[in-house]
Symmetry: D3
Subunit: 149 residues, 6 copies
């Protein structure tokens, strides 16, 4: 079987893939990514904003809300009724690692939803920390598991 870009028709035009014939299945995807910063920024974060500050809570909410908007942001993604989204953080010496999980009972995989949650959570952390660190980098955004039952 020849590999092909599923969102392009024979003329190269973009279209949403027809998922009408697919069965409803339970689907789970987990994605991760990280915001890299200086150790000084992490120390400041721990001192000023953890645990009482809203930094992580704010980024978590932004990531969850963004997952629900995936079909609005990514042109060829289907609108989905997600069963669940969660976003978690691990604060390391020189980075914050973000993990997001999306769950659906439906016809398409939900890795784009998990990736979108990670990306927007990372952007939100960037926004809240940019006053103290001008050289942060968002990276390693990828899917780490995708299953269906």
């Amino acid at each position: 079987m020849k590999k092909a870009f599923s969102h392009l028709d024979d003329t190269g035009a973009a279209a949403m893939v027809d998922v009408g014939a697919k069965p409803d299945q339970k689907r789970v995807a987990v994605a991760t990514g990280e915001l890299r910063c200086t150790p000084a920024t992490i120390r400041l974060l721990k001192k000023q904003a953890l645990p009482k500050g809203d930094v992580l809570a704010c980024a978590r909410v932004a990531g969850i809300m963004a997952a629900k908007k995936t079909g609005e942001l990514i042109p060829l993604c289907h609108p989905l009724m997600l069963d669940k989204v969660s976003v978690d953080f691990a604060v390391k010496r020189d980075r914050i690692v973000i993990t997001a999980e999306a769950r659906l009972t439906g016809k398409t995989g939900v890795e784009m939803e998990a990736l979108t949650a990670v990306s927007v959570a990372a952007l939100t952390l960037y926004d809240m920390m940019k006053a103290v660190d001008k050289a942060m980098v968002i990276g390693e955004v990828r899917v780490i598991s995708k299953t269906k039952i």
Copy 2:
């Protein structure tokens, strides 16, 4: 002067920074990022979808539209009337490099808008190419210039 997280008040609560006292200035920000994939995926992209296919055009549109939604995605970003957004791509041997520029005549920097355009363009490429490559990674998303006049 002591560095501080500008979006947190004394109690650690999140709030939008008051920009009411700032002057309107011309502001430009440029951000980049990349979607890393296999050389085989790039070869397939070049053969099937470039130049006639809609892949890059679709990601460009998604990035531009996302820049305009930044204030809706990132909780503490201000809604802005952007003067301009553009998104460009450089297709390399094993990655696509994305560059986005945002311009504003206003009171706040626009690096979040440029970063959001890059992130959503990368997610859109990921979505359109994921049928042929399951191990792509979005990375090196960062600001490369930020100026005001």
Copy 3:
């Protein structure tokens, strides 16, 4: 059984509740609320804007559209494909009473959708009447019935 906040995990982090294991059921929720104003405002409303004016129609449409946006406004609400939303008004001597009903065939209750419809209908009435009454109050917003079949 110990009562608990369903949207918080063991660490206190917010997450959408996983509804994947719940059966699809018919669900109906009704909510009410009121906009309190002066009797003079109500008299003016009846004279200038009822029945021909668009005040109630405009608030009804706003409430219905807001119910469809509930999952976008309330961070941990699930996106839903509502079967029906309706919004009605009773104009009293010194207040307008708003009632909204939401219906769903799905996995979660729809009281948040009914409450959101009431709240945004009330805010819309407030907006349209604020030029003549500066001291209005939105109150008594609550669920009056919630059923599933």
Copy 4:
């Protein structure tokens, strides 16, 4: 049986029709429309922007994304989880003909989604071509087929 406006109740108030009792069926709707312009504009489009330019790709993406927003734009439309949307163009001597198809496994017809895709694709073409032609007209927007299985 007397014909009636399905979105109005006995008092003339607007409401979403209750679709809760309807079965899930496969539904397809196709709509068309056109943007009329001068032959000179079409010649310029073919020379400057076809095939390599992003004009048609941009309008296609806008149409697809708008179809997914139909329930947000049209007050009494139900939010839907579309299975598929596609938008195509035929460039004629003095007009661009737009065709959109929407597919759903669900409880309501999807002609509004197909019509919205056509309308927003036409508006996007208008926007991108208005610098060279001030007298374009969008017309003949209608449903050409609607089926359910």
Copy 5:
């Protein structure tokens, strides 16, 4: 001077036009369009839904709200802070004529906002009347005046 598509750069890539150097001016645009239907549908509309029904009010609200979303629907439109939007209807023998006006103090014309208001008001009328008339057509959507002071 050679005419050119303002939203395409030298390589044919789409981008928002940079309006940063333009002065703020008062701008007004008026657009019209029509929904054509059978005389029987118009008679039914007049009998069942005018003046007390919400049909026209609902379409008016939808058009006004859509004008505010223009920058979100049309990929290369700038987000704008409109000063005013209004939508009006003239019910004729076999059609409803829709007129929308948009006003802005800003840097770009607002014809796309007026056209979007007309289009979405027409789609809303279509949605509310489609149960009684399956062959309606939206047409003659165009700008009738565009001025700046």
Copy 6:
């Protein structure tokens, strides 16, 4: 001078008020409201979710984001570029009091933005606490100050 509903024209049709002739001024509005619940719910909230849980942070973020969406929710509100929004909570014996402040340099008052922030923050609290208390009421939502400089 005769009082009138500013959003209705002579025929009773709704329209956005034209603010084009108004000067840009600094404007501040503060609104409050409350979510009433049982003292047992408040005790549970203090024990399980304060200070470490995300309940208040989540409601604060939802309120701030909703303020930015006011022009999208309330049909005749103008889209605004808010300078600042903040949302605060006071946890009392049997209620949570919510206060929101909105600031703008612009042409219209921002009391609707402050009221919307309060309403959506209250709805979010309701959503997160509804598993433990079925009889909560949102009330006393009103403007407590509105100034311009």
